[in-house]
């Protein structure tokens, strides 16, 4: 079999150790085979330490390499290169089992899986390059270890690609994620880090230009995320100022709880007050017109007591209510700005409603005087009618 021939050539100095034919094998069997191989054959003496474990772990890779190399019939050099390439790092590929079945055939035609082929080719290329750069395996060890490990990241995470450019980019992971950035620039944000580099990545885009801070990721997603988080934090600060007693609380969760409690308590207060209002309500005439009228009418001194009387007795007010309605329809209502509500609102309103229950007129007088300050003039007609 060619395979045995290949192995024989590969093993070099060893006189063809017992190699069982891996006919129709899954990778498991291959593992055994390779282990045997490893023990029996002395591969390139440099590889001895590193490659055995690598070999043990990576039988499929080995198989792939071997397949390729035996195909190309550049067995000895390629084989050695393959072992160096493999031994240097952990390349873990999960090749589909079917291709390995071609072991059984006499002609080792490589499987139709071109991607696998290309992947193998790529690794072998790297291996050969490394081999060619320096003759010594040990010198290659660190670079090769870095190379395959990075490419392995690529391989692990991504489906087989023929894009060697991608792989080259992945070779330098310690630089800021330029490849990632390049993709992301197509999307949204231009970010220039304040780190040691990346003035190169200034693509002009019609989007928000955000400057990433030192030590932070420059991924567009994280940038948007960060902007959003800042927005939320700003608003939370605003809410904190609004809700009494939230300034002293540390921690967002507690602050949020406090805010929610505050909203709930406010809503409950509204409900309580509306219940009280409902209880109080039937007795009181809520006619806004009368209130408005009284406000305006209080300008006229003579009519103070009159208006007071009118409002003080709800049953009377009821009667005149309709007439008030009619009268109020014609003249335009006075503009609200004229009412001095600044600091007087609470007492004003409170006393206003007191009148409805016939409280003493002195209150009303005081109120009216207060109200008079900014009120508009009213036609004397209306005042007299109120009387």
């Amino acid at each position: 079999m060619d395979l045995t021939g290949g192995f024989g050539a590969r093993s070099g100095g060893v006189g063809g150790g017992p190699y069982r034919e891996p006919i129709g094998l899954e990778s498991l069997h291959l593992g055994d085979e390779f282990r045997q191989l490893a023990t029996t054959t002395s591969l390139t003496p440099d590889n001895a330490g590193g490659s055995f474990t690598a070999l043990l772990e990576l039988p499929p890779t080995q198989a792939v390499e071997l397949l390729h190399f035996t195909d190309s019939l550049s067995s000895s050099q390629a084989a050695a290169a393959a072992t160096t390439g493999i031994g240097g790092g952990d390349i873990i590929i999960a090749p589909p089992p079917p291709p390995l079945h071609s072991f059984g055939g006499t002609t080792l035609t490589f499987p139709s899986n071109s991607a696998l082929m290309e992947r193998a080719a790529r690794f072998s290329v790297i291996a050969t390059e490394q081999q060619q750069n320096n003759g010594n395996y040990h010198n290659n060890e660190t670079p090769t270890s870095s190379v395959p490990s990075n490419s392995s990241d690529r391989v692990k995470t991504e489906p087989p690609e023929t894009d060697s450019a991608m792989e080259n980019q992945s070779l330098c992971p310690n630089q800021t994620n330029r490849s990632g950035k390049r993709k992301d620039f197509d999307k949204k944000v231009k970010s220039s880090t304040k780190k040691n580099k990346s003035s190169e990545e200034t693509e002009k885009l019609p989007y928000v230009h955000v400057r990433a801070r030192r030590g932070q990721a420059t991924d567009s997603h994280s940038l948007a995320e960060r902007a959003r988080r800042e927005k939320i934090n700003a608003r939370m600060k605003l809410l904190q100022e609004l809700v009494p007693g939230c300034d002293k609380i540390q921690g967002t969760a507690l602050v949020l709880d406090e805010i929610i409690n505050h909203v709930q308590s406010l809503q409950r207060q509204v409900e309580m007050l509306s219940m009280r209002l409902a209880a109080v309500n039937p007795r009181v005439d809520f006619n806004l017109d009368t209130i408005l009228a009284s406000e305006n009418a209080s300008l006229m001194d003579g009519s103070f007591s009159g208006t007071a009387m009118q409002l003080a007795w709800p049953h009377q007010a009821l009667e005149t209510e309709q007439s008030f309605h009619q009268r109020q329809l014609q003249p335009p209502p006075p503009p609200p700005q004229q009412w001095p509500f600044d600091g007087l609102n609470q007492p004003v309103w409170g006393r206003e409603e007191d009148q409805a229950h016939g409280n003493d007129h002195s209150n009303l007088m005081a109120v009216s005087e207060n109200v008079m300050v900014g009120s508009a003039n009213l036609h004397p007609n209306q005042v007299k009618m109120e009387l």
């Binding site: 995320e225 959003r228 988080r229 927005k231 939320i232 700003a234 608003r235 939370m236 600060k237 605003l238 809410l239 100022e241 609004l242 809700v243 967002t252 969760a253 949020l256 709880d257 805010i259 929610i260 505050h262 909203v263 709930q264 406010l266 809503q267 207060q269 509204v270 409900e271 007050l273 509306s274 219940m275 009280r276 209002l277 409902a278 209880a279 109080v280 309500n281 039937p282 007795r283 009181v284 005439d285 809520f286 006619n287 806004l288 017109d289 209130i291 609200p336 009412w339 509500f341 609102n345 609470q346 309103w349 409170g350 006393r351 206003e352 409603e353 007191d354 409805a356 229950h357 409280n359």
Partner: protein, 160 residues
């Protein structure tokens, strides 16, 4: 109350605007002759409460605020000749679904609180968290104003 942030506008009108609106709504209730016929206090209570909320929504900015808009919409479900809503192209459904999906990833502490807020604040269902917080701030201000007005009323009306 001046808003601390320049970009976020959470100004609410003064008490008098709220007061006027509330009293107007109450007098409307009065002229509807409600208080004579219904026996249950509960009915009356609910009516007053609804009137309070609607008047608050109107006073606070009508349909220019999301929560007030939602409130008014909720209140005038059938007969909508009362409130005029601005015509906007509504892609709300898109926004809800796309933002909701991602919002679970974003600071789950904040997000669960935002969920609770959404249940409390009217119209909170379609809003993103940052917008929700704006609306909450405005809502809190308006609510406190309304509470003050109602408190005054009750104090004034209750027998001494």
């Amino acid at each position: 109350m001046a808003s601390a942030d320049k970009t976020i506008n959470t100004d609410v009108p003064e008490k008098d605007v709220f007061a006027i609106h509330f009293l107007q709504s109450l007098s409307n209730l009065r002229t509807q002759n409600l208080f004579n016929s219904p026996d249950t206090t509960n009915y009356r209570v609910r009516k007053i409460k609804k009137a309070a909320y609607v008047s608050m929504a109107r006073a606070a900015g009508g349909t220019s605020r999301l929560w007030s808009r939602a409130l008014l919409r909720r209140a005038t479900k059938g007969n909508n000749k009362i409130v005029r809503f601005p015509r906007k192209k509504r892609k709300v459904t898109w926004k809800i679904s796309s933002k909701r999906r991602r919002s679970d990833q974003r600071a789950p502490v904040v997000e669960e609180a935002a969920e609770r807020l959404r249940n409390l604040v009217p119209g909170g269902g379609g809003m993103e968290t940052s917008k929700l917080m704006e609306e909450t701030a405005h809502y809190i201000k308006c609510l406190s104003m309304q509470v003050k007005v109602m408190q005054c009323l009750v104090d004034g009306l209750s027998p001494k």
